[in-house]
């Protein structure tokens, strides 16, 4: 996860951008280039002025149900108790977590602030867990693991499993226990927090992608380029981000009402408890060469493939089992219908077992030190980096 540097925020706002920001940004922090700013957005006051005073007749329908109606919604009470939320979290806050910016652009009534707070908490806990649990993951796999735990698709799945349903259309009259989002709204739902719009997105070649280091610096929490709405399946994307913003807003609400420990427990039990098969995320280019480089880097003997067993060499479907050895130590094993494939597969398995090293199932993470009476911190093993 990127380090947040508050000292740079002011500088970001004062400096001019090198390229014209032609990307339309309709969210609540419309004026900031880097959207991780705490400066109040000027658009907010204009929006609040639109709310009619008490006693006046309402000129038009409200975009979302009134907060008072939350106390009378059976769906909301059921959701509150299904999530085993603390009594400190009022139903009104849970109702507000269900209103996305696409339904109600007013930041005083939608979940944008809570979702931003929640997303930072979720991403922090997931990132520290991944870093401590799999200290040798390459950066690309690290990003994908982060996305698998806390990406919009995963969080949308979680919120659906909580039993959250969307209203057919947002409005004043709908049940406050339904998620309110509109796919055709001009207000972007998205988690457009963090990251910069790259200068090269203005050019024609939008597929042009820089290396991993610039992804760490420039792009969002999942290493994706911050881009204006040119997503392929826009409806699905908006739906996922709307549903995921509810999960993020619930975590934000727990943090604001019940504190840090409760938010961490909630993230651990609902998000980090899910299983991800990291070994299926790898795609190698030259596994034999990468393994040789790894052995050279770590000072092991160069890897040597040995044929452990074979069957049906002259048949149509032979099977070869090849083991990769460094000296006398076995690094990996693979089986395939050809000698070459079996050797490459064995190399891939050896590399995967290197990258997927884990110190154990119960790893200590830095946020454990915030507990009362925590044992002294022992630095975890963090690898020096990728091989190639």
């Amino acid at each position: 996860m990127k380090g947040i540097r508050p000292s740079r925020w002011g500088g970001q706002l004062l400096h001019a951008r090198s390229c014209p920001a032609t990307i339309p940004r309709k969210n609540f922090l419309a004026s900031t280039v880097r959207c991780q700013s705490t400066v109040p957005a000027p658009a907010a006051e204009d929006l609040i002025e639109q709310i009619p005073e008490e006693g006046e007749t309402l000129p038009r329908k409200l975009p979302s149900p009134l907060p008072e109606r939350a106390l009378h919604s059976a769906k909301l009470a059921a959701l509150h108790s299904r999530l085993s939320l603390s009594k400190k979290i009022p139903l009104q806050t849970l109702a507000r977590a269900l209103v996305t910016p696409s339904a109600d652009p007013n930041p005083g009534f939608n979940n944008a602030n809570l979702a931003f707070l929640g997303s930072t908490i979720i991403n922090y806990h997931v990132a520290e867990y991944i870093t401590c649990k799999w200290p040798r993951l390459p950066m690309a796999i690290h990003y994908e693991a982060l996305r698998a735990f806390s990406g919009p698709e995963s969080l949308a799945q979680i919120s659906r499993r909580w039993g959250v349903e969307a209203a057919a259309a947002p409005g004043e009259e709908v049940d406050p226990g339904l998620l309110q989002w509109a796919s055709n709204s001009s207000a972007l739902v998205g988690t457009r927090w963090g990251g910069y719009v790259r200068a090269e997105t203005d050019r024609k070649h939008s597929f042009y992608r820089r290396g991993m280091s610039s992804r760490v610096v420039l792009d969002n929490d999942f290493g994706d380029a911050v881009d204006a709405g040119s997503v392929k399946d826009a409806h699905q994307h908006h739906q996922d981000t709307s549903f995921s913003s509810f999960v993020q807003a619930v975590v934000g609400a727990i943090y604001s009402h019940s504190g840090r420990e409760a938010a961490k427990d909630f993230v651990e039990s609902h998000i980090l408890s899910r299983q991800v098969d990291l070994s299926s995320l790898f795609e190698f280019q030259l596994p034999t060469r990468e393994l040789a480089m790894l052995c050279a880097r770590e000072g092991f003997e160069p890897p040597l493939a040995r044929l452990e067993s074979e069957t049906g060499r002259h048949s149509r479907t032979p099977v070869y089992v090849v083991g990769i050895y460094s000296g006398k130590e076995k690094l990996g094993e693979g089986n395939a219908p050809s000698l070459d494939f079996a050797r490459r597969k064995a190399c891939m398995n050896a590399l995967k077992s290197w990258y997927l090293y884990s110190p154990g199932n119960k790893v200590r993470v830095p946020s454990d030190m915030m507990e009362e009476g925590a044992k002294p911190w022992k630095a975890p093993h963090i690898d020096i980096g990728e091989v190639i």
């Binding site: 040597l304 076995k330 990996g332 089986n335 395939a336 997927l356 110190p359």
Partner: protein
């Protein structure tokens, strides 16, 4: 009357004779399990030794756990001993285990003298660093390559200087026009391929990609 009516009886005669010889002379004489009892008896095989309890001790033997997992691919979650970092507690545990019972860890051997226990090494082109080339060799290599890239190909130079072709391609790359000519030659050869060969090559590339993604 045309030729076909005449020839038909002759072919039928031929066919019938071949069929008869096939039925009369089976390739292997074998008896099928025609009854249930025979089938059951034939399928009754004693279990493998690893499924049976340990009988080496006399009768009131110690508790014996039969551990016989099915053959399966090793999981990448299991880190090999050599990949464990120095401060990992598993490293010490494995070392202790190896010292106490060297045969408990299967193929991994601890004593240095029994290299024959390992399976046979495969033969494939791999890096064998020799460091036998000098500056003059490199210059000579470059001169020969520029003089006649057709005669002094990568393989010819690697044989002459007793080094790997990769070193030749790094130290003395071919001139650009020669590379272009080679590429055009390969392209002309590729154009002569028929649809079956083209498809086979594409499939081979696709299989390699799938392998690298871990899909096959």
């Amino acid at each position: 009357m045309d030729v076909r009516t005449l020839s038909r009886p002759a072919t039928q005669l031929l066919k019938s004779t071949t069929r008869q010889t096939q039925t009369l002379l089976p390739l292997t004489t074998s008896r099928g399990h025609k009854t249930t009892a025979r089938t059951k008896r034939a399928l009754k095989i004693a279990p493998h030794d690893s499924f049976l309890p340990n009988r080496s001790q006399p009768f009131p033997a110690a508790d014996h756990i039969i551990y016989n997992p099915p053959a399966s691919e090793a999981s990448p979650e299991h880190t090999p001993f050599i990949f464990l970092p120095a401060n990992d507690p598993r490293r010490e545990a494995i070392q202790r285990m190896r010292l106490s019972s060297p045969e408990a860890l299967g193929s991994v051997t601890t004593s240095p003298d029994n290299a024959d226990d390992l399976p046979p090494a495969m033969r494939y082109p791999r890096r064998r660093a020799q460091y036998n080339l000098t500056e003059d060799d490199m210059a000579e290599m470059r001169r020969l390559r520029n003089e006649d890239p057709l005669r002094w190909s990568t393989n010819a130079l690697s044989k002459k200087f007793n080094c790997s072709p990769i070193i030749v391609s790094i130290a003395a790359p071919a001139p650009a026009e020669h590379k272009k000519w080679l590429e055009e030659k390969a392209e002309r050869r590729r154009e002569r391929w028929g649809p079956i060969k083209t498809q086979a090559r594409e499939d081979r590339g696709r299989r390699a990609e799938m392998l690298y993604r871990g899909e096959i």
